[in-house]
Symmetry: C2
Subunit: 317 residues, 2 copies
Amino acid sequence: MSLETIEQARERLCPYLVPTPLVLSAPLTRAAGRKVWLKLETQQPTGSFKIRPALNGALAHLEECRRHGVVASSSGNFAQAVTYASRELRLDAQIVMMRNSSPYKIAQTEALGAKVVLCGNTFEERWETTYRLVRETGRVLLHPYDSLETIAGDGTLGLELLAQLAGDFTAVVPVSGGGLIGGIATALKLRRPGCLVVGAQPEENGSMFRSLEAGRRVNVGPVRTIADALVASTPGERAFEIARQKVDQVVLVAEEEIVRAVRRLAVEQKIVAEPGGAVGVAALLAGKLRAGAGDVVCIISGGNIPGLALARLLEGV
Amino acid sequence: MSLETIEQARERLCPYLVPTPLVLSAPLTRAAGRKVWLKLETQQPTGSFKIRPALNGALAHLEECRRHGVVASSSGNFAQAVTYASRELRLDAQIVMMRNSSPYKIAQTEALGAKVVLCGNTFEERWETTYRLVRETGRVLLHPYDSLETIAGDGTLGLELLAQLAGDFTAVVPVSGGGLIGGIATALKLRRPGCLVVGAQPEENGSMFRSLEAGRRVNVGPVRTIADALVASTPGERAFEIARQKVDQVVLVAEEEIVRAVRRLAVEQKIVAEPGGAVGVAALLAGKLRAGAGDVVCIISGGNIPGLALARLLEGV
């Protein structure tokens, strides 16, 4: 993955997306004793960063996508993003989702106009169904976290940070399959090598954490966490290689720490983050980041949580 | 009120505040059929726009404020703002709040280090107590909505909009005492007269609406609305004069319309607005804005709502 590939992605996305806000958090700065910034991917048109890789994947192969349609497999946020991108670009989209995916995310995906294909509840079944559809229909596969186009699309978030904040900083990035942290780490380490890149992952998953420890990709089996956007049970191949070379630290956060972060973000920062989007803040508040030079930037990667679920988190029930 | 006064305020605030994000709202754009932008004053360090007039008032008379301390009277958001400004500028602050103010806002004000003086529950008693403190202590009064410094501080929000958005647009502004809409209307109408300025006020208050109808300042008596930031029972003198000359329309919104707006902002837009900060979106969603050229900008003036209150709104209880 080169900087040029990410810069190409930025040019492709430019007519469709504006940079998301980077805000200085007064309450988190007080809590952490160093300047804390939040990158609000919640303000993307589909409420998560996934619109970057979805659009970049489709735009990179636009003619083929127009001719054959696209297929994607997702726990929800990538599904919404591919559906949105398909509507913008007039593509026919099929989305493979697990039968036990959040009904809210399934409904949102269908409401945006995609055909949802439900499959079994393991990560493996999701991929089997997806590859079968690719073989049978000739549709273009948009990969949620491991194709070059995906990681380059994710990397545009890193370029935005470099344009929004001066000096070396520590980026804290939610990790599932590893595409987002792979893209961001590539952009930051090649452009401003003094930056640190830290991954945050739910203890209930820990696939990237354990893979890095083991020095090879580990599959942790079915994942159940409140952070329903972070359920990839093994890192992507490309993403893992990038993480090995460029990620400084991966930390694990407990379910209660995630809940507390969602609550503080809503009450003190006035932003709605979904649990998966709040794991970076959870790591920060739990004191799990190594002391490091410079400001901290937490990527709030998504905000797609149903109103009732948010209400329950706020009530502490 | 001149543009120069507002530009001076902007220079004063520059070392303390960064411009707040202006985000394009995909869900509200779909709902309204025209481009809708949100100005996120919720991202100010005290969670509301009130930090602008608080800092401007104190900075304009800094030596006097240092010598005698300051006093302010507020339903909550201005209290927090004056307290924050006083800490930044090392001033001694006393805040007059009604006994039935939101306990959450009282607690937040005290937590930030101000002395809270509780008074009776009418607007008149609040002002009596405040003016008595000014007489007895020689403290500098920071007015929440009607001094020149206040309105100029509020006006800096208008200058930010002009720098963030090209062309003529319609700004929809929450109205209580009228300082915010006065400042914004001054900036927009002097700089870009094709812009429209619309006020939104709870039906349960309506003091500016009725005053404009009557052609003189009307006092509507004690106000009870879920929008606890919008309880001024009569517009300020200066603010009313500006509104008469420069505001194009003031619309009233029902309590349920406000609740619906808070809910949609949290669930669809991923932002936490307090009810008083959501009245502009309530007016838009209720179809109460006159058709007009250009985009709509809703000022989300504050986000200070306790977690449990937000939870109850989200549950529809």
